[in-house]
Amino acid sequence: MLNDIITPDLFASAIRMATPLALAAIGGTICERSGIVNIALEGMMLVGAFAGVVASMFFGNAWIGVLFAVLAGALMALIHAFASITLRADQVVSGTAINILALGLTGFLMEVIYGHPGTTDPVARLLPLFSASPSGDGFFGEIWRWVYSIFFSHTPIVYMAILIAIAGQWALYKTTWGLRLRALGEHPRAADTVGISVTRGRYSAVVISGALGGLAGANLSLEQVGSFTENMTNGRGFIALAANIFGRWTPGGSYGASLLFGFADALQIKLQLFRDVITIPSQFFLMLPYVLTVVVLAGVVGRAVAPAAVGKPYEKG
């Protein structure tokens, strides 16, 4: 039976499930590195997922859907930035408002556009980038099946997420942009003193995080499912925040932590196929990613150090 569970597609599925978490987690990393808490990733993903499906329907092109998803996520983030940077509102409260707004707005527009609640009509999905199907026998055939599933069976945003993680890691530590971003989150006053605009820097970080959240939403709706269902993010924005913490506020770490959560999700989906053999109710499998999140937070938080100025509004002295 273990042979039926540990298959190439389990790992491929883990990478797929990790993608929305990783994109949102990297968004969280960039946002928190600039000193702004973003618990609104959940809402930004949800709005992105919805905008993507609607735009894909109107224009008949999934890529335009992706573009609108990214824009919608960035727009929600702009509201968060305005509230928490310009108005110096409580960032967690502003994030909560965004999450509720996202739930209400997508539900409301769904009924206005589609005339019913629940799930939208299916739209064109983004298809896997490489369409070769693995064949061949024997040892090499087996190897090729593993390699194909894990590396070549994915849709475009899955690869984009990996590139973004690598580019993000490089940018955060090797570029002036990254240095400035880290300064904003650690010691905004010092950054201000040497002529870095705290407001502008934080605005751009929040908007980038929203764009990544929107892209994560597009992955959910336009790649994984092909339609939008109300509240389809299902807490992923919060799991992504945990992944960001577990990844110690680095893009690479966020991606790695998301792989862990993605694997948990892939495993629970796989195990549900064996309901006849494993007589554990499906609800316990569905709990797995959430339980894992709590366990991970309990285990690592004490040793992971958040950016010093995160959550504190900056007032020019």
């Binding site: 509230a83 108005l87 110096r88 409301f108």
Partner: protein, 365 residues
């Protein structure tokens, strides 16, 4: 001396005016923005809001329905407000509510046959305890390792919901096709208001409404006059200073989040005992999350929670009529909720607008 007294009185009035005024203006602005959204979506805002008003306050029965919807929101609003006072954001009131409901649905059957007052008392206390227990692990993680309660209580909400989903489809499922628990016997339910007082004879409002108001006063008293409440407020205001003056921040954090959980648990208990008489998967329409808006609108004042809950209860009970008569999707009330949270949270907004116009005026002059 008299002048000083008068000045202090004046200051108090100014604070009170601000505490009532800002929420009031926020609600008005939120309704104005929502009207624009309704209009852009191609509906008639006037028809929408008059249908909403009719649905919320149009008759005795409708007023009762508003009270019915306000009841769980008072409990969850108090829960979130108590947490905020101690510097904790209990975003997972929904999960604690589910666990409180679970306790009531289970005990209500087990206790069948006992006298009603005893039954009701046991169920309320047990439901509160289970709600507190569901907040305990996040509380402990917050106090001991600093795990943010926003993530942990949210995760516990999902875990609790799946637990309830399993129990109502499996071990606690009643006979029949529908996944729900058995109907509670009469002695395990809360009487309706019209059975005790003689008003709104055909409304579904139940005694939970009165219990919630009494509890709001109790919570207000705890915060204002007890050591427990003082410590919670001190830690919420400044944890470092509190620790230095001998208050244990971690103990206070655990206590405060558990009390918050207990209050949220009661929302689930009274929904099961007063409204549905049983537990099922969808028995809460996000009361735990709306509780956040209630607490913020009330500026975390327990007495304010009563009024804020009635407002959101009215939006909820009126939204059905709005959908029916003006075709406006009832999801609109979530948008209004979010707008109110924004506007209350961003008190600076008014100052910012004033500052801008002033700047503009001086620059152009």
């Amino acid at each position: 001396m008299a002048g000083k007294e008068a000045k202090r009185m004046g200051d108090r009035l100014a604070v009170a005016a601000e505490n009532v005024g800002i929420p009031f203006i926020s609600v008005l602005i939120a309704i104005a923005i929502a009207s624009v959204i309704i209009w852009i979506a191609g509906f008639d805002p006037v028809a929408a809001f008059s249908a909403l008003w009719k649905g919320a306050f149009g008759s005795g029965r409708q007023i009762g329905e508003t009270m019915l919807r306000a009841t769980p929101l008072m409990f969850t609003g108090l829960a979130v407000a108590y947490g905020f006072r101690a510097g904790l954001f209990n975003i997972g009131a929904e999960g604690q509510l589910f666990m409180g409901g679970l306790a009531a649905a289970y005990l209500g059957i087990v206790l069948a046959g006992l006298p009603a007052p005893l039954n009701i008392a046991i169920m309320l206390v047990a439901g509160a305890a289970v709600g507190a227990a569901w907040a305990f692990i996040p509380a402990l993680l917050k106090a001991k390792v600093g795990a943010h309660e926003v993530i942990t209580t949210m995760m516990f909400t999902y875990i609790g919901r799946y637990l309830v989903s399993w129990l109502v489809t499996g071990p606690l499922k009643a006979e029949g096709q529908i996944p729900q628990t058995e109907k509670l016997p009469l002695e395990s339910t809360l009487p309706r208001l019209h059975e005790v007082f003689a008003f709104f004879p055909d409304s579904r409002a139940h005694m939970g409404f009165i219990i919630a108001i009494v509890l709001a006063v109790v919570v207000w008293w705890i915060l204002k006059y007890t050591t427990l409440g003082f410590e919670a407020r001190a830690v919420g205001f400044n944890p470092w200073a509190s620790e230095n003056s001998g208050i244990s921040v971690s103990a206070t954090t655990v206590k405060a989040l558990c009390i918050s959980g207990a209050l949220a648990g009661l929302a689930g208990v009274t929904e099961v005992m007063g409204v549905h008489g049983r537990l099922f998967d969808q028995f809460s329409s996000g009361f735990g999350f709306t509780g956040i808006a209630v607490a913020l609108l009330a500026k975390n004042n327990p007495i304010g929670v009563i009024f804020a809950a009635i407002l959101f209860g009215a939006l909820s009970s009126g939204s059905g009529t709005m959908q029916l008569e003006a075709d406006v999707p009832s999801k609109l009330i979530f948008i209004i909720q979010a707008l109110i949270i924004f506007l209350v949270a961003a008190e600076q907004l008014a100052k910012w607008i004033v500052g801008r116009t002033r700047k503009g005026v001086t620059e152009s002059a």
